[in-house]
C-alpha cells in the first residue's frame, strides 16, 4: 500500500514485516527514528519481537550476534560513531558467518563532530566482511531491507543496508509498503544451520591458529564474492513478486553511446539524475552502484564499457589516498582495454547540500586542465589558510 511515510518509519515497518525475533538498537542521530518507530510498533502490539534496549551500540551488535547465533532472526541499526563502536563486533559477526541485518543511517564520523550525512561510517567497516547495499530512496531502502534478510540467510553473511542519514531517514515520501502476507510468502522463515542448540551443542567462535586462518579468511572472501549472484537473484525475485526492483548490483541509465559516465551510490544518484535532466544533451551515462560489498567487478567493467571519462562520486574519503569508491573502481578497471579516465570527486561530505547544479560543474571539470585526479569537489579551499589547502 502506498503511503506518505518518513524514511525511518518506513524502515521500521519493513523490519516489522520481516518479523524479527530479536531487535537490539541504541539510538543515535540520524538512526534514532528507526529505533523509536520500532519501539512504538512493539509498544502498540504491532511487532512481536524481543526488543532489547541496549546500553550501547557495542552491545546492540553483540546482542544481535548472540540472538542470531541462537537461531533468531535479528536486526539492528546504527550510524556513524555507533557503527564505529560496533566495529569490533561487526567483524566478529561476519567472521563467524552469522546472518543478520543492520541498517546504517549513513553519517559522517567525527571529529569534528558532525551529525550529517556522508558515507564515512559504512566505509570505515567496509573490510568487516559484511554485505553492504546502498539505497537511493526510501522505497529502495524498504525493499532492500526485506531483501537483506533473505540474502543474509542464503549466504550466512550479515547484510548492511546503507541509507543516507537525514536525506532518506528523515524524509517523508510516498512509499509502497508490502503487506505482511506478501512478505511472508516471499521471505522464507529464518534458518541458521549452525545455531546454538543444546541438542547439537556446537562451539562457535573458536580460536583459529596460523594453520587454518588463511583458509578461513579465504572462505569468507569467497563467500562474500559469491553473494553477488544471490543479491541479483534476490532482487529479480523481488521484482517479479512486487513489480519493482532495487537495481540488482548496479544500474545504468542514459544513452548507450555515452562517452561520459557518472557513478555514485545512495541518494546522491537521485540528485545527479535530476541535474542531468537539465543537461540532456550531455550524453551522460549514470551508474547507480547498489552493491558496494561484494563489489561487482564484472558488472562495473561492463557498465563502463565505451566510456572515455568516468566521474566517480565518493561520499567519504580516505585521507592520504582520496576517494574510496574511486580508488576501488580504478583498481577494477586497471588493465581493461580503453578504460575510461577516472575523475574522482568527493561531494557532500558531512551533509554539505548537493545541488543539482553540481552536475554541470562535474562535467565541466573533466576539461579542467588544473584538475587533480581526486578532489573534495565542493570544498571552498579559499576558506583554508594557504598552508592547509
Amino acid at each position: 500500500m502506498r503511503e506518505a511515510l518518513e524514511g525511518s518509519q518506513a524502515i521500521a515497518r519493513a523490519v516489522a514485516l520481516c518479523e524479527p525475533d530479536v531487535v537490539a538498537a541504541y539510538p543515535i542521530t540520524p538512526q534514532t527514528h528507526i529505533v523509536e518507530n520500532l519501539s512504538k510498533l512493539v509498544a502498540d502490539g504491532e511487532l512481536h519481537t524481543e526488543f532489547v534496549s541496549v546500553e550501547s551500540e557495542f552491545s546492540a551488535a553483540s546482542v544481535v550476534l548472540g540472538a542470531a547465533a541462537s537461531g533468531a532472526r535479528a536486526y539492528t541499526a546504527s550510524s556513524s560513531q555507533g557503527v564505529l563502536l560496533m566495529a569490533e563486533v561487526l567483524f566478529n559477526i561476519a567472521g563467524m558467518r552469522i546472518p543478520l541485518v543492520m541498517t546504517v543511517a549513513n553519517r559522517a564520523v567525527s571529529a569534528p563532530l558532525n551529525i550529517w550525512n556522508d558515507h564515512a561510517d559504512s566505509m570505515a567497516v567496509r573490510d568487516s566482511g559484511w554485505i553492504q547495499l546502498h539505497c537511493e530512496n526510501n522505497q529502495e531502502a524498504v525493499d532492500t531491507t526485506i531483501q537483506a534478510f533473505r540474502i543474509s540467510q542464503e549466504t550466512d553473511l550479515p547484510v548492511m543496508v546503507c541509507m543516507d542519514g537525514f536525506v532518506l531517514t528523515h524524509t517523508m515520501e510516498v512509499i509502497d509498503i508490502p503487506t505482511i502476507a506478501q512478505v511472508r510468502k516471499w521471505l522464507p522463515p529464518f534458518e541458521f544451520k549452525r545455531a546454538l542448540d543444546p541438542s547439537d551443542p556446537k562451539s562457535l567462535g573458536a580460536l583459529v591458529g596460523p594453520d587454518f586462518f588463511p583458509e578461513v579468511r579465504h572462505s569468507h572472501h569467497a563467500a562474500v564474492t559469491k553473494a553477488l549472484p544471490v543479491i541479483e537473484k534476490t532482487d529479480r525475485s523481488w521484482a517479479r513478486a512486487f513489480k519493482r526492483g532495487c537495481g540488482g548490483l548496479l544500474t545504468t541509465e542514459g544513452p548507450k553511446d555515452a562517452k561520459i559516465g557518472i557513478i555514485a551510490m545512495g541518494s546522491t544518484v537521485g540528485t545527479l539524475r535530476s541535474g542531468l535532466a537539465k543537461t540532456e544533451d550531455a550524453g551522460v551515462r549514470l551508474i547507480k552502484l547498489r552493491a558496494f560489498r561484494p563489489l561487482p567487478e564484472e558488472a562495473l567493467r561492463e557498465a563502463t564499457r565505451g566510456l572515455d571519462h568516468l566521474i566517480v562520486i565518493d561520499r567519504a574519503i580516505s585521507p592520504g589516498l582520496g576517494g574510496i569508491l574511486g580508488t576501488e573502481i580504478k583498481a577494477v578497471l586497471y588493465g581493461t582495454p580503453d578504460a575510461p579516465r577516472i575523475h574522482n570527486h568527493a561531494i557532500g561530505l558531512g551533509g554539505r547540500d548537493i545541488p543539482e547544479t553540481i552536475v554541470g560543474d562535474l562535467l565541466s571539470a573533466i576539461e579542467d586542465p588544473d584538475a587533480t585526479p581526486f578532489s573534495v569537489f565542493d570544498a571552498d579551499l579559499t576558506m583554508l589558510p594557504p598552508e592547509d589547502r
Binding site: 525475533d21 530479536v22 537490539a24 519481537t49 524481543e50 532489547v52 534496549s53 541496549v54 546500553e55 550501547s56 557495542f58 552491545s59 546492540a60 551488535a61 553483540s62 546482542v63 544481535v64 550476534l65 548472540g66 540472538a67 542470531a68 547465533a69 541462537s70 537461531g71 533468531a72 535479528a74 569490533e88 563486533v89 566478529n92 563467524m96 546454538l196 542448540d197 543444546p198 541438542s199 547439537d200 551443542p201 556446537k202 562451539s203 562457535l204 567462535g205 573458536a206 580460536l207 583459529v208 591458529g209 587454518f212
Partner: protein, 357 residues
C-alpha cells in the same frame, strides 16, 4: 547400561525439571551413557578433557564445576580470555554445550541476545555468560551492567584470577593491592599495584538483581550450591569465582586449591551472598589466618616478604587491614562452629554409596 545408570539419569533429569520448572532438552549425546567410562561418569560434563589450560588452572576447574550443575540445558557466551582460548583451539572444542565466543568485552551482551532469542523462540534454555576479571571488572563492565539492568534471565559467572592472564599477567581492576604484575611490577619505586581491588559485588549489588554471590574453587560444594540456586532464578544473577592462576600468581600448580582456601580464610576474598543487593549470607571463617599465610605462597607478593624493608611491612600491614576490614564488614567470624563455615563445608566423609558399590 545398567538399570542403576538409567535411574541416575532419570533422577538427574527429574532434578533438573524440579530445578527449572521446565523440561530440559535431551542432549543428542546423553551424559553418563556410552561406551567409555568417561561417558558414564555420574555427573554432567560440559567441559571435557583435552583443553589446554595450564597445569593446576583454577579457572578450568571453576568452569567445570559451574557447568556440572548448570547443564545440560544451557548455552554459554564466553568472553575472550584463557577459558575461551584453551577450550576451543579449532578444530577442537572442550565444550559439550552450545557455546559461543565473540569478543573480550561483550559476553554479557551476546548472552543478552541469546536469551532474547530463547524468549522469542519460546524456549527455556538457560543462558550463561562467562568472563574473566578483565572482561568483567574492566572492559566488559558496561555490557554486564546493561545486562543486569535489562533483567535478562542469565547467570553471569566471572572467573576472577585477578589479572589479565591470557595476555601475560597485566593488572586489572581486580588485581589486589600490592600484587606485582607485568604492568604493576614491584621495584625500587613501586610495591606492585598501587590501587585497590574493585568492589565489584558492591557495584553488582547496586543493580538490585535477585542474586549475586562470590565463591571460590576451594569450596566446590558451596560454589555448586550457588550455581544451582542461581540457575533456578528467573532473572539476572551474578557469581564471581575466585580462581587462582598458578602462572600469574606464581605458585606451584598443586597449590591452587590451598591458595584459594587461604584467600578465604584470611578474609581477603570474602564468600558472600546477596539477595536484591542485601547481604544475605556469608561463609564464616572458623579459623582466621593471617594474610601472610595466603600471600607467602605466591610469588606475586614476594616483594612483601621482606621484614627488613619498611615499605614491605607497610603494605603487608595494609593488606592485613583490608582483610580485617572485610571480616568486620561482612561479619565473617560467625558465631561458633557452623557446618557451612570454612572448616565445616570442607569436611569429607567416607562415601557410603561408593563404599557399598
Amino acid at each position: 547400561m545398567s538399570d542403576n545408570d538409567t535411574d541416575q539419569r532419570a533422577e538427574r533429569l527429574a532434578e533438573l525439571r524440579e530445578k527449572f520448572g521446565r523440561h530440559p532438552v535431551e542432549p543428542k549425546k546423553p551424559f553418563h551413557q556410552g561406551a567409555s567410562l568417561r561417558d558414564r561418569q555420574p555427573r554432567f560434563c560440559a567441559l571435557e578433557s583435552g583443553h589446554r589450560a595450564c597445569q593446576g588452572c583454577g579457572e578450568a576447574l571453576a568452569a567445570r564445576l559451574v557447568m556440572e550443575c548448570a547443564g545440560p540445558d544451557v548455552m554459554v557466551a564466553n568472553a575472550t580470555g584463557c577459558l575461551e582460548v584453551f577450550t576451543t583451539p579449532w578444530p577442537q572444542s572442550a565444550w559439550q554445550v552450545p557455546w559461543v565466543h565473540s569478543l573480550f568485552e561483550n559476553s554479557a551482551a551476546v548472552a543478552s541476545g541469546m536469551e532474547a532469542a530463547m524468549k522469542a523462540r519460546g524456549k527455556n534454555t538457560k543462558i550463561l555468560a562467562f568472563g574473566g576479571d578483565g572482561g568483567t571488572y574492566d572492559i566488559g563492565f558496561q555490557a554486564l551492567s546493561g545486562m543486569l539492568e535489562r533483567y535478562h534471565n542469565i547467570l553471569y559467572v566471572c572467573y576472577d584470577n585477578e589479572a589479565y592472564m591470557n595476555t601475560g599477567i597485566q593488572r586489572s581492576s581486580s588485581t589486589p593491592h600490592a600484587a606485582s604484575t607485568t604492568t604493576s611490577p614491584a621495584g625500587p619505586e613501586r610495591m606492585g599495584k598501587r590501587h585497590l581491588k574493585k568492589d565489584l559485588l558492591g557495584i553488582i549489588a547496586a543493580h538490585h538483581i535477585p542474586y549475586s554471590a562470590s565463591a571460590s574453587v576451594a569450596y566446590p560444594a558451596d560454589l555448586q550450591r550457588k550455581v544451582r540456586y542461581a540457575m533456578g532464578i528467573n532473572g539476572p544473577t551474578f557469581l564471581v569465582v575466585h580462581s587462582p592462576c598458578p602462572l600469574g600468581w606464581k605458585h606451584d600448580s598443586h597449590l591452587t586449591i590451598e591458595v584459594a582456601r587461604r584467600a578465604v580464610e584470611c578474609g581477603l576474598f570474602p564468600i558472600v551472598e546477596m539477595e536484591r543487593g542485601e547481604l544475605a549470607n556469608v561463609m564464616p571463617i572458623r579459623e582466621v589466618r593471617p594474610v601472610k599465610d595466603y600471600l607467602a605462597l605466591q610469588g606475586r607478593f614476594g616483594h612483601l616478604m621482606k621484614p627488613d624493608d619498611p615499605r614491605a611491612v607497610e603494605e603487608l600491614t595494609h593488606l592485613q587491614a583490608l582483610a580485617d576490614y572485610n571480616i568486620t564488614y561482612f561479619n565473617l567470624r560467625g558465631e561458633g562452629e557452623d557446618p557451612a563455615d570454612t572448616v565445616g563445608i570442607s569436611q569429607v566423609a567416607r562415601d557410603r554409596a561408593a563404599g557399598e558399590a
